[in-house]
Each structure stands twice: as structure tokens, then as C-alpha cells.
């Protein structure tokens, strides 16, 4: 019979950019991305040395560092190498974000004193600890300009100075507020000066340009840069430039923040510009492409030169733990997210013209960053779903990422978030849903396989170290494997250990606030975050309107598959005893090959198999319950203000045990302060790295092998179509997971694919999915590239052999990046996960 097999589609590079201008800019960006960019990084000697003056409050020092950074960027002598004071031919949006990324680190002016540095080491904090992971209120700047913020600062400084001259009581709080407003003023002035420097550059360039059109264009750029972000934006061009300058100023300080609901932000300006006839639709798309290209300016599109760009230190913004991340995979992670579509605050659909134009520009540019995310819901217009599908099919960059409002909005609302705010959610970091321009976000992770190890082994890891009797202890003692008589005994042990690990995260997130204020205040961001500016309280002092704390489970599908194998073979078939399984896992199945084969053949998540889906559901129920319990407990420890002395003593004692010796955080930060905990499941891009140190698991996974990406089926275990995964979602109650629960799926590239992609998007929403990333990849091509990369790693081919593939981007769990820049483990995971061959 003739049954044509999947045949590789062409490997041609789709043309990028909708106009000659953006095509040119993208190819220039690509050339730069393929070169050695190590020389473009700032060097410490480019910054002034006198910022870290112990006599100056830390928030003012930080603002001074911010100003120093923005000045250093436009210093011509620095720009000869950093190239941060350049306007590329044809650019419409200007300004250059200096090199820096989650994986490669940051180079910043030093605002910390020597003694702060020595102490902060104790809690893994330092200059690079700005956390990012927020979404500033860009609309505030578009509407009122930085001028409105500066006016507020002037007024408040005058008021506070007056009050301070005639103190009616202790004035310590007044001093802090004064420092805050001074710091905000310094930061905003620095941004305005930076924009003016680009206006100067554009004018100077115009003066030496012979082409009349280009001259006019440069003069327009100069006009825009003189106006925004100081003044409110009117035209689309002004709005995009204004948002970009703020984005640049935050990212320049290593504050990797997101952009938010760009379609809602620019829609009024787009409409004004279209209606005035100043631009047409095509020009609007071109402007947006120019904006995206600027955000992507820091890309490395080859892994050949990454080591020389390693500027990551131990405290680069990942909470209170020393850095634990896959640097190679994160080399192109900038945490910059754009959100389009979704619901309005009043519950109506928010789709506007700009929504479509951004999707179109994203597909045209085909860049892996910034991450464009689309919010869909049951009432999304059919045309929008179709546009998203077409963008995914055409872009080749795995964008947009898809969010289901029907799951995420109820989940956030259930975490005590006002419904209007929940409907207005945005995305930060890798994929975390947060609130728009008014919340701070921190998170912690719990590895479900570690929990399972403890459950199987009386609270110890399954390490095979002769110095430990059982393995290294990580949790409470629970019954030894020989005493876990029924499957429910194992489940009970699991629940107990899960509670232990979730508690640690919840307490740790409160602790984060106890130390953050002392090291990395963020005045510019705080000025754009909820009521921080009104209150004069930095967000690191607990000033944000809402503080979200995400508790995110990794390896949840791995744990479900492992439990399914144990339930079937130990408690069902009784072919193996639990102690035998524990012994086999400790030696990574060596000498237990038959068991390994049996376990691999057990039911696996992603195949619509009720024999494992019920365990996924159970794990999710347990996770959700553990987060609710942990929230109650952590709130009590850090927020309680008991009046009775014995109770006060009890709470003080608990706080001391957590390493916090202060009053209730409500007394410290204000009565509004309360971390709202949300639960989620995912790994960001760290699944390969996080698998290191995790022992063998009963699903048939070997010791140190990668975890499954995010909350996706384990690569290589899916026998059904994507319809199977989506139908499984319907029974999981994913509308409880406000911190996000992510499926990464990879579909085989095919001609006329958008119809199918559209079905996948609709199926995702209809089945109550939460977040889904969709990479479109040619399985055969990925394999070919992975093999080529191996050759390059083994020095059998020059790195340039990969250049022609540098345009292919896929999802890394937390962001999108060129496939050729991955590690071998990441590439192997990808090759194994393509679904639904054409």
C-alpha cells in the first residue's frame, strides 16, 4: 500500500521582517548574534568608583548606580566597545540595552559597601541580586510621562522635608521616604537624560546624512526622544519609544522585567496615528517589528562564545539561594514578556487591532525574544485564535505562548486577588502569571521526585553512600519501605514530605522580604508599581499592592509516572516488593534490567491513560492542599500580631527559628502586607540541569537524567496524539493553579499547519488547560542539527557549521532560544518530544 511517511519539509530560512528596513535590521542583529559579543560587555572600570558611600542610604546609592549606568551607556568612549550609544541605519526605535541575561549575568556599577557585601554573602545577596520578575505600570508613563512622577517626587520631598524640620514624633520613617523619593527622582532624571542623549545623537546623525528621507526620519526620532518618556505619548511611535526607554532603563540595571499588555498599552496611540493618517497599518507593523528587534538586541545565536561572556555571580537574582541554573540554556533568557489578548478588567474580551498587529509583527520578525504571550478564553474571537495559529505556524519561533484565562483568572481570584486584577494579569519571568503593574513576585520550587524519594526511603534521598545508613536525610522520618504495606501508606508518606518541602518554600518567601530591602531596592521600578509611589515605600520594603508568592512543583509528571509504575508492579501485580524497588533505584537499576523494562512499560502521563492520570490529579490535589496549609502557617509566623504576651512569645520564637527576628511584617511593611501564595507546576528552562543529583525514579528514569520539561509528558513516552494530552487536562482541575502549570508541546512542521494548530489552541482552552507552549519543529531537522552540534562539541566541525540553523528557535521551558545554543541534554530532550508526525 502507498502510505507516504513523514517527509522532512524544506529547511529554508523563512524571510524575516515585513519590510526591507526590518529585514536589514534583523540580518544585522543575526550577524551580531553569531559573532563573539564578549567585547560588548561593560567593564567595571567604565563606572565611577564613589557610588558605594556608606554615608548614603542604600536606595539612594542604587539610584546613583542607575544614573551612572545610563550615563556610561551614552559615553562615546565606552560605546566604542559596548555599542550602547549607536543608532543603526534604518532604526525607528532607538536605545541599546547593554549585554546581560539570566544565564550570563550582569555587569553593573557597584552600589554596595564592603561591609554590606561581606554580610550579604551570608544570605546570597549582592549587587546582581535585583530580581526582575515584575511588570511595571507602563501606562502610567504613557499617560502622564515621567514628569508626573517627578512632580510627585518634588511635592513629597518638599512635604517630607518640612515635616522633618518640625518632627512631631520619631522621624526614621520620614527619612526612609525622603530617600525613596530622592532615589526615584534621580532615576527618572537619568532616564530622561538618557533619552535626550539619543535625541542629540539622532540630530547629529541627521546633520551628516545626505538622504532627505533618512534625515527626516532621524529628526523625527530626535523629536520623539526629546518628548518621551518625560511627557505623555501621543503617536504610536512615541508610545513604543516610551515603553522601550523604560524597559531599557530597568534592564540596564539587570532588573529583567516584562513589558505587559502591549496591545492594551499602544491601542489608543495606534488608533490616533491611524486615524490621523500619519501612518498606515503596514507602517504600524513595521514600527512594532522595530520595537521587538530592539528588545532582542542582546541575543547570542551561537554557543561558541558564551564562556567569555560569563558574568554571572552566585547571587544573580534568584531569591535567597546561590544561583542554581542552567547557564547555557539561560544565555538568551531576558525574562521579557509581552501579553496580548485576554479579558479586560470588566470581564469583556480585550482583543483590539493592536493585538493582531503585534501577532503579525512577532511572526514577521520570527525572533525568539521578547516572548509574546497570547491570552485566550472561551469567548476569544475566532479571528484571534486563527491569527495566533497562523503566527505560530509562520514565525518559526514558538510564539505566541498560550494562556487560558478560563483557568488562570479563577485560580488567581481564589488566591484572594480582586477579580478585576485577576482578569488583568500579565506574564513575567519565564511564564509566571502576575498582576499588571501592581504586584511583586517571588517564587520557590519543590521537586516532586525528591518528595517521592523521601516517601520511599523514610525521609532520606535514595543515595547509595556507605557512610549514610539509608541515604542522606532531607525530611522527617516516615515508615521504612518494608512498612509501607499498602499503596495508601506510600501516599500518606508522600503527603507528609510534600508538606515539609512546601512549608520551607513558603517560610523562605517571607524571609526574602526580611533581607531584600537592605541590598537591592529598586526605586525606578517601584515608582511604576502600584501605590509604592503614593506611599513612598519601595517594593523591596513591601510596598507593592500585592505580593505574590508562587510555589511551583517540578517533575510532577515524573512523580506520577513513578507512582503508577509502583502501584502496578508492587501493589497490583506484586512482582516486586517496595524494598526491592528502593534497592534498585539506589543502584540506578544496575542488575535490575527486567524491573527497569517493566517500569518503562507502565502507564505514562500524556496518553489519556486513567491508570496514571488519576495520580496526576492526586498529586495536584495534594500540592494545592499543601500550599493552602503552608500559607496559613507562614502567614501566622510572619504576620501575626498577638496581644497576649504568651502568644507573642510563641510567635517570636517561631520567627527566630526561621531566622527572622523582627516584628510582624504587617507592622514592619504596613497593614496591607501579606504574601498571596499561588501554586503551579513547571521547571522553567532548568529541567535538564535540575535532573542532576536526582536519583533514579521508578518511571524508568536514570539517575541524573533530565526532569520532564515544565509539566509536560515525559519526552519519548507519548504514544497518542496531542488530543490525548489535552483531553487529560480536562480532568485535572487546572483552574486552581495561579502560578501557572505548563504543557510544552512540539508539533511537527507541515504545510498549511495553521488549521491544525488552531484546533490545538481551541482544544487547549476547551479542556481547561492552563499554559501551553507550542514549538513547531521538523523532527528530522532537529536530529540533524543535534548531530551537527555534537560534531562541533567534539571539534570535528567548526562552529560556523551551525550558522545556517541559528534562526530556528524552540521553547526551553522558560523562554525561547536558538536550538543551536542548547546543551546536548536539552537537545536530546527536544528531539524526543516531537508529537503528531505529519
Amino acid at each position: 500500500m502507498t502510505t507516504p511517511h513523514p517527509v522532512a519539509t524544506a529547511t529554508e530560512e523563512p524571510s524575516r521582517g515585513s519590510t526591507p528596513r526590518t529585514r536589514e535590521l534583523i540580518s544585522a542583529l543575526r550577524a551580531r548574534g553569531l559573532s563573539d559579543r564578549s567585547g560588548e560587555w561593560f567593564r567595571p572600570d567604565m563606572f565611577p568608583k564613589d557610588i558605594a558611600d556608606p554615608a548614603v542610604p542604600v536606595i539612594v546609592r542604587y539610584a546613583n548606580a542607575n544614573r551612572a549606568m545610563l550615563r556610561a551607556m551614552v559615553a562615546p568612549e565606552n560605546s566604542r566597545t559596548t555599542r550602547t550609544y549607536e543608532i543603526q541605519p534604518g532604526e525607528l526605535i532607538v536605545g541599546v540595552i547593554p549585554m546581560g541575561s539570566v544565564g550570563l549575568g550582569k555587569v553593573l556599577p557597584d552600589h554596595l559597601t564592603e561591609e554590606e557585601r561581606r554580610v550579604a554573602f551570608f544570605s546570597s545577596r549582592d549587587v546582581e541580586s535585583t530580581f526582575g520578575h515584575n511588570c511595571p505600570d507602563h501606562e502610567r508613563v504613557l499617560r502622564g510621562g515621567l514628569r508626573a512622577i517627578l512632580d510627585t517626587c518634588e511635592r513629597r520631598i518638599a512635604e517630607l522635608s518640612f515635616e522633618r524640620s518640625y518632627p512631631l514624633g520619631p522621624c526614621q520613617g520620614l527619612d526612609k521616604k525622603l530617600s525613596f523619593y530622592q532615589a526615584v527622582r534621580t532615576s527618572c532624571d537619568a532616564v530622561v537624560d538618557h533619552a535626550a542623549a539619543f535625541a542629540d545623537l539622532a540630530e547629529r546623525t541627521a546633520a551628516t546624512t545626505s538622504d532627505a528621507d533618512q534625515r527626516a526620519e532621524l529628526r523625527e526620532i530626535a523629536r520623539v526622544c526629546r518628548k518621551v518618556p518625560l511627557e505623555p505619548a501621543e503617536t504610536l511611535h512615541e508610545a513604543l519609544q516610551s515603553v522601550y526607554f523604560i524597559h531599557l532603563a530597568l534592564h540596564a540595571m539587570g532588573n529583567f522585567n516584562s513589558i505587559g499588555r502591549l496591545d492594551q498599552l499602544i491601542e489608543p496611540h495606534l488608533r490616533r496615528s491611524l486615524e490621523s493618517g500619519e501612518i498606515d497599518r503596514a507602517r504600524a507593523v513595521e514600527l512594532i517589528e522595530c520595537f521587538l528587534i530592539k528588545c532582542a538586541g542582546r541575543l547570542n545565536m551561537t554557543s561558541a562564545h558564551l564562556t567569555r561572556q560569563d558574568h554571572l555571580d552566585f547571587a544573580t537574582g534568584l531569591g535567597t539561594n546561590p544561583v542554581f541554573l542552567d547557564q547555557v540554556a539561560s544565555a538568551n533568557n531576558f525574562l521579557q514578556n509581552i501579553v496580548v489578548g485576554g479579558l479586560k478588567r470588566d470581564g469583556a474580551d480585550a482583543t483590539v487591532e493592536a493585538t493582531y498587529l503585534i501577532l503579525e509583527a512577532c511572526a514577521n520578525a520570527g525572533l525568539p525574544t521578547p516572548t509574546v504571550n497570547i491570552r485566550l478564553h472561551g469567548g476569544s474571537p475566532a479571528a484571534l485564535v486563527e491569527a495566533a495559529a497562523r503566527a505560530l505556524g509562520r514565525g518559526g519561533n514558538g510564539l505566541p505562548i498560550v494562556y487560558n484565562d478560563d483557568s488562570i483568572v479563577p485560580a488567581l481570584a481564589a488566591s484572594k486577588i480582586a477579580l478585576e486584577d485577576a482578569r488583568d494579569y500579565v506574564v513575567d519571568g519565564c511564564w509566571e502569571p502576575i498582576l499588571n503593574g501592581k504586584c511583586d513576585w517571588t517564587f520557590g520550587m519543590v521537586n516532586m521526585l525528591t518528595v517521592l524519594e523521601c516517601a520511599l526511603n523514610a525521609g532520606a534521598l535514595l543515595t547509595n553512600n556507605p557512610s549514610t545508613l539509608r541515604g542522606s536525610k532531607r525530611s522527617f522520618g516516615t515508615p521504612a519501605p518494608e512498612r509501607l504495606i499498602g499503596f495508601d501508606d506510600l501516599r500518606a508518606a508522600f503527603t507528609r514530605h510534600l508538606g515539609h518541602f512546601v512549608d520551607q518554600v513558603a517560610l523562605g518567601l517571607y524571609n526574602f522580604y526580611a533581607i531584600d530591602a537592605s541590598v537591592t531596592p529598586t526605586p525606578l521600578l517601584s515608582a511604576l508599581l502600584g501605590r509604592c509611589l503614593d506611599k513612598g515605600i519601595d517594593k523591596t520594603w513591601g510596598g507593592a499592592d500585592v505580593n505574590l508568592g508562587g510555589i511551583i512543583a517540578t517533575a510532577l509528571p515524573n512523580a506520577a509516572n513513578s507512582l503508577a509504575a509502583i502501584r502496578h508492579w508492587v501493589y497490583g501485580e506484586r512482582k516486586y516488593t517496595l524494598p526491592e524497588v528502593v534497592a534498585a533505584l539506589k543502584v540506578d537499576f544496575k542488575g535490575h534490567e527486567a524491573m527497569l523494562a517493566d517500569f518503562k512499560a507502565a502507564p505514562k502521563f500524556g496518553n489519556a491513560d486513567p491508570h496514571v492520570d488519576d495520580l496526576v490529579r492526586w498529586l495536584l490535589d495534594e500540592l494545592h492542599a499543601a500550599v493552602v496549609r503552608a500559607e496559613t502557617f507562614a502567614d501566622f509566623v510572619f504576620l501575626a500580631e498577638p496581644s497576649c504576651p504568651a502568644e507573642r512569645e510563641r510567635v517570636a520564637s517561631l520567627r527566630a527559628l526561621c531566622g527572622y527576628d523582627g516584628p510582624s511584617m504587617k507592622a514592619r511593611f504596613g497593614q496591607h502586607f501579606d504574601i498571596q501564595f499561588t501554586a503551579g507546576a513547571g521547571t522553567f528552562g532548568q529541567y535538564a540541569f535540575m535532573g542532576g543529583g536526582v536519583n533514579a525514579s521508578a518511571e524508568g528514569r536514570h539517575c541524573n537524567a533530565p526532569l520532564t520539561p515544565n509539566c509536560s509528558p515525559v519526552p519519548g513516552t507519548v504514544k497518542g496524539g496531542i488530543g490525548h494530552l489535552l483531553s487529560s487536562a480536562a480532568g485535572l482541575g487546572l483552574n486552581r493553579f495561579g502560578a501557572g502549570l505548563v504543557f510544552d508541546v512540539c508539533l511537527e512542521a507541515a504545510p498549511d499547519n495553521h488549521g491544525f494548530i488552531e484546533k490545538v489552541l481551541r482544544g487547549f482552552v476547551a479542556n481547561g488547560g492552563n499554559i501551553m507552549t507550542v514549538s513547531i519543529a521538523n523532527h528530522r531537522l532537529l536530529k540533524t542539527i543535534a548531530t551537527l552540534c555534537d560534531d562541533v562539541r567534539n571539534h570535528q566541525r567548526p562552529p560556523e557549521a551551525l550558522d545556517e540553523y541559528s534562526g530556528l528557535s524552540v521553547r526551553v521551558g522558560g523562554w525561547n532560544a536558538p536550538f543551536v545554543t542548547f546543551t546536548q541534554a536539552q537537545q536530546a530532550s527536544y528531539v524526543a518530544r516531537v508529537l503528531d508526525s505529519y
Partner: protein, 349 residues
């Protein structure tokens, strides 16, 4: 693989479906996007076959050497002595194989692996129609009106009763159905499917017997009778004639003329031309057999010529193949490439 296809052909009214594989999102096996069930067993022995692992009516062992890690587990668990693993080679004596599957279950890279990942596989999938439908349903539901289910082969007519049961479930669930056939099968098999198939994919080409090749049971009379029955049946369904362009077999104008003539005689208009699959030898390798057409390639112009030939005779021609589509785009920009949306409208009409 000693088996008597003629005998099996007469006795296939067993309830479960024997199949080899499922493809979840095919764009080349019928209108729109299809879930495709590849049945096991085909009475033909076409030398160009690119799914030779579906020929046998009994389970067959497939071995993908590039995925073997030479661990020797298969040798240890195989009581028939099929496997011999040496320092740098894994040798198979397939004549000893009793298709028990012990080696597949014992292989650390094959047990539980999806079909892409394992080194060893047995073509022994077997499910009753109801169970198979339940297994396919989540994805069929997702596809909805974008496509449907295609039963391919092997030869569906050889398992007509079981196929009918599966298609009946599809009809009840509103799933569009297609059957891909060579037309070789009993008249009663054809009758049992007539009302259940929305679209026939009919492989019309010179059978090996016409060429005097080493074919088994190419019966042109049977093919013609089946096709005539499909055309003349009351409530006639859509019929897509499919022609693989095989170098040296079906890629010349005399063959094309016969196809065009047959189609004209029956009033059939829709023809799908399938360019030679450059990877057609893949499963021959997994079966440990030489591929009779090894090393052959096809000039994309041949595909264009064939299309032009048929188009000139008033037929609606479409080229169906991912790679060929891309390759053809350069040489013949105006060749119609059937968009799924167009197929969809017609099939629903």
C-alpha cells in the same frame, strides 16, 4: 516469513483489528488532517512498497540498529536464539523468531518507548474495534471537522469485518472516514464497507504481476471489479485515485495513459500523484531485507511531467508529499497543491 496469504485472505473475519502503527496527524492520507491506522497484512508484494513491515499477516520483529546499545539483554531473554550480540554488532537470525516479544520487553531502550525511540519492535498491536476507537477518540475529537480517520495498510479489505466495526463507531461519533486500498479483496469485503466509508483512497497502478515481477497475487481483474463497484454503488462516495510515481515502474507515459484511460472510462476525476519516497527503504532495513529499489532517486521534473500529463487529460491532479511540495515549488510554481481547506469543502459537500 513463510505464510500463505491466499489462505489468510479467505479467513479474516476476526473481530479485533491487527495493526502496526497509528499516525496522529497525517496530511497525506486523505482529506485534511488524519489519524491513520496502519493495518497488518497485505496480499500484495510490490517491490516499491515503503511499508513492507505491514505486509505480513503475522507479527514481525523490527530492528533499528542505530538505536541498539549492544547491551545484550535481548540475547539473554530470547529462548529461541534469535539475537547474537557481539562487540560491535547485533546479529539476528529471524528464521528462529516466534514473535514472543520477550526481547522487546527486555530491551532497555525499547520497553515502553514510543515508536520513535526503541531499537526493537514487534508489529503485534491488536485491539477490538471498540477499544481501538476509544484509544483514538481523544485525538479524533480534537481534529473535529479538520479531518478524520483513515484506515490504511496493509490492506483494509483483508480485515473488512473488523474495519466495518471501527468505521461504524466513527459514523456514530460523526467522524469522517477514509479507507486506503489497492482494491484487492473479496466482493463481500467491499460490500461490507460501502456505506461506512466517506472517502476511498484507491491505489491504481500496474500491479507487479503485470510486469512479471516477483509479485504474489496481483489480480488486475479484482482491482477493476472493486473500483467499478465503488463507482457504481448507490450513494457513491468520494474516490481519490492515488498513483505512486516509482522509477522504472510507474513513472512513464504508457502507464499514465492507462491510468487516465481507466479513470476516464469510470468518470473519475480526482488523482493524487505521490512522488517517490526517498526514504522508502527504511522499513526494509528494519526487517533485515534488501530494498529492491535501493539507490533510486527521482527527478522532480518527472512529477511535474506526470501532473501535466494528467491535467492535460482533464483530471484534477494534486501532488501529495511534504518534501516534494517544497522541492517542486522551485521548478513548477503553478502546480496546484491541494490545500486541506479545499479538500475539506469537497468531502463535506
Amino acid at each position: 516469513m513463510a505464510h500463505d496469504n491466499d489462505r489468510l485472505l479467505g479467513d479474516l473475519s476476526v473481530r479485533p483489528l491487527d495493526f502496526v502503527d497509528v499516525s496522529w496527524n497525517s496530511g497525506v492520507d486523505g482529506p485534511g488532517r488524519r489519524v491513520v491506522v496502519y493495518l497488518r497484512g497485505c496480499p500484495l508484494d510490490c517491490p516499491w512498497c515503503h511499508s513492507p513491515h505491514t505486509r505480513s499477516f503475522t507479527p514481525t520483529l523490527l530492528f533499528f540498529s542505530e538505536r541498539c546499545r549492544l547491551c545484550g539483554r535481548c540475547q539473554a531473554v530470547c529462548s529461541a536464539g534469535v539475537h547474537r550480540v557481539e562487540a560491535n554488532a547485533h546479529l539476528l537470525d529471524r528464521s528462529r523468531c516466534v514473535a514472543c516479544g520477550a526481547c522487546v520487553r527486555g530491551c532497555p531502550v525499547s520497553a515502553g518507548a514510543s515508536h520513535r525511540a526503541g531499537a526493537l519492535r514487534l508489529t503485534d498491536e491488536r485491539l477490538p474495534a471498540d477499544a481501538l476507537f476509544r484509544w483514538l477518540a481523544p485525538h479524533l475529537q480534537l481534529l473535529g471537522d479538520l479531518g478524520g480517520l483513515t484506515v490504511s495498510g496493509g490492506e483494509p479489505l483483508a480485515q473488512a469485518e473488523a474495519v466495518a466495526a471501527l468505521l461504524r463507531r466513527c459514523r456514530d461519533a460523526g467522524v469522517h472516514t477514509a479507507v486506503e486500498t489497492s482494491g484487492i479483496g473479496s466482493a463481500s469485503a467491499v460490500e461490507s464497507l460501502l456505506e461506512l466509508v466517506d472517502c476511498w483512497l484507491f491505489g491504481l497502478r500496474p500491479l507487479p504481476v503485470d510486469h512479471g515481477a516477483a509479485g504474489r497475487v496481483g489480480r488486475p481483474d479484482r482491482v477493476a471489479a472493486t473500483l467499478r463497484r465503488l463507482v457504481e454503488a448507490p450513494g457513491r462516495r468520494r474516490i481519490l485515485i492515488r498513483l505512486p510515481l516509482i522509477p522504472g515502474h510507474t513513472d512513464s507515459p504508457p502507464t499514465w495513459a492507462r491510468i487516465a484511460e481507466t479513470m476516464a472510462g469510470l468518470g473519475l476525476r480526482e488523482l493524487q500523484v505521490l512522488p517517490f519516497n526517498p526514504d522508502a527503504g527504511h522499513y526494509h532495513g528494519a526487517l533485515g531485507q534488501p530494498f529492491p529499489l535501493e539507490g533510486l532517486t527521482q527527478d522532480p521534473r518527472t512529477v511535474a511531467e506526470a501532473s501535466a500529463f494528467f491535467a492535460a487529460r482533464g483530471l484534477d491532479v494534486a501532488v501529495v508529499s511534504g518534501a516534494a511540495v517544497a522541492a517542486l515549488a522551485d521548478t513548477t510554481p503553478h502546480l496546484p497543491i491541494l490545500p486541506p481547506s479545499k479538500l475539506e469543502k469537497e468531502s463535506r459537500a
